[in-house]
């Protein structure tokens, strides 16, 4: 039985919070709660999900305003002390804005909002987020974003590569991301940010359960 206690943060404008809740609570049968962004503390939660959506209308820059909401200061402390945090899509953008992950997500190179299932390669399966994947396994996960073009400076990219922080790459880069990067972990390996949505590929009835490999990996890491 997993000791994971999932907390899904709800910002004004989050819209994948219920998908994430369903994937953890109803499919993986994990203790799962929503956390409203105005709360002061994450309480007893030990696995924090920053879900997809358009927090604060994506005003100024995606994720820039969510970064200063009440609950985020507790989440930043939690993450800096080794707590496990996953940011999906807008959540990834928020993690980059907080500086918990390096780099930034720019407007897609083709200027379009892209909503489709894409093929990813798992570049590293020695992480708590990819333990149930094979190395170089190809998985199909949906994306839905207008600002998903990952960018960082040359030094940061060299560090990401040499520290095996790149977990997922696009096989057919849809958005112009540097080095086809779709998802990265921090150097301490307790924070994951990814643009594709594993929670949208979690239920058999939707025809694709590749996302479960990622979500179950992290849940099982709490056993």
């Amino acid at each position: 039985m997993s000791k994971a206690k999932v907390g899904i943060v709800v910002f004004p404008g989050s819209n994948c919070d219920h998908d994430a809740y369903f994937a953890f609570k109803d499919i993986l049968k994990v203790d799962t709660k929503f956390l409203w962004h105005k709360e002061e503390s994450i309480g007893d939660r030990n696995l924090i999900i920053l879900p997809g959506g358009f927090s604060y209308g994506d005003y100024l820059r995606c994720g820039a305003i969510a970064r200063f909401s009440n609950l985020m200061s507790d989440i930043i402390n939690f993450a800096n002390n080794g707590g496990v945090v996953i940011g999906i899509c807008n959540g990834f953008q928020i993690l980059c804005e907080t500086g918990l992950l390096p780099g930034v997500l720019l407007k897609n190179k083709n200027l379009q909002f892209i909503c489709k299932t894409v093929s990813l390669t798992v570049e590293n399966n020695k992480s708590i987020f990819t333990g149930n994947c094979e190395i170089k396994e190809v998985i199909n996960i949906p994306i839905a974003h207008g600002e998903g073009c990952y960018f960082c400076d040359d030094n940061t990219l060299m560090e990401l590569i040499s520290n095996n922080q790149i977990l997922f790459t696009y096989n057919d880069n849809p958005n112009g991301s540097l080095n086809n990067i779709a998802g990265i972990q921090n150097i301490k390996r307790n924070i994951l940010g990814m643009m594709p949505h594993p929670e949208r590929a979690a239920d058999e009835i939707l025809g694709n359960t590749d996302g479960i490999k990622i979500l179950s990996s992290v849940v099982e890491s709490f056993e």
Binding site: L60, K107, N108, K109, L111, F151
Partner: protein, 85 residues
């Protein structure tokens, strides 16, 4: 009272696909002399302070902490005295 007029631009190393699209449109309108187009943001802050140095400091901190992301953007601003209103 001071007004900070802040300009935020993408760093030159960052591709600006929006600028490229607008540039293409300008070129097709016949503005062939326009060879580069970059799109940024303009922000005005009204700052309740009677010292210009203090207003400058506040505007700089606001840019650093929230208004610009140094990974992808540069900022610059002018501080102008205002009578309020």
């Amino acid at each position: 009272m001071f007004i900070a007029k802040i300009r935020i631009t993408l760093r030159s190393s960052i591709l600006d696909p929006q600028g490229k699209a607008v540039e293409g449109s300008l070129n097709s309108l016949g503005f062939e002399e326009i060879i580069d187009t970059r799109i940024g943001k303009y922000i005005e802050l009204k700052i309740d302070s009677d010292k210009k140095a203090e207003a400058e400091n506040i505007a700089g901190l606001a840019c650093k902490k929230l208004l610009a992301n140094p990974v992808m953007e540069n900022y610059e601003f002018d501080i102008i005295k205002s009578d309020g209103g």
